[in-house]
Symmetry: C2
């Protein structure tokens, strides 16, 4: 019997825990240098002159931390075919060195494609929260997930 999770297995209101990840100063700086070199992601002195008061992580790095937790804890490679995009990608609070981020996601709705009944669309909202209870990442998106094989 297949353990694969097909689109029909997800129901509105289902909640999944994504685990935790601790952010280091080194990876904040290395990521920013490669992808997002704003001074407030790279340098404490520059960051202290801003409203952030100290170095903060690139929001895109935070998104990739969430993505890695999704791969470790949630995504099924036998059934999942990626996503057409995100309705929202929000960074309500900054991420600072040493923050422990904990993720979860909640299913919003599932529907089966009318034109391609072997595919379903699973819409969810996912969040990362720091140890002080602040949301640092919120996204709503849809995954394309195979439906159960027909007999």
């Amino acid at each position: 019997m297949s353990q694969a999770r097909h689109a029909e297995e997800f129901k509105a209101g289902d909640r999944f825990e994504l685990g935790s990840y601790v952010v280091t100063r080194e990876e904040i700086v290395a990521f920013a240098r490669t992808y997002d070199p704003f001074p407030f992601h790279l340098d404490d002195n520059a960051a202290q002159a801003t409203m952030f008061g100290g170095i903060i992580a690139s929001g895109w790095m935070t998104a990739l931390i969430w993505l890695r937790l999704m791969h470790q804890s949630f995504l099924d490679y036998d059934t999942t075919l990626g996503s057409p995009g995100h309705e929202e990608v929000l960074w309500p609070h900054p991420v600072k060195p040493g923050d422990r981020l904990t993720g979860h996601l909640e299913i919003k709705e599932t529907r089966i494609s009318k034109s391609k009944p072997d595919l379903g669309f699973v819409r969810y909202t996912a969040k990362l929260r720091n140890e002080r209870g602040d949301d640092v990442f919120v996204t709503t998106s849809t995954l394309i997930i195979r439906t159960r094989p027909r007999p």
Copy 2:
């Protein structure tokens, strides 16, 4: 005289070119291995069994290509304080090895913060397009940009 671009300098309808970037198979695979290890980002055989018909880039890699073009061509470190998030992040067409992606952005609106008049919010839509004219990345977001210093 400062060359810095303050929030007041941006008007709805202004368009900015972001330049181009050519995607390689090597970076598609390296990025996916680190951040987004779906089989269809890593392996041509696995990808051929999907609707994609061959290896495609992680949408998050495409987003970071756009981000790098933004840094090279648009963002002003003297005035820009990042973003609270994105209203949409869409991948309407897949990115494949060898694709040349060309970016632009268009300003949608600018408003000055009522509570913090030294800050403005510049809302825009940005796109990356391949050489066949397909949009491969579309995002709408808001940048926080300093307003002109008061006398």
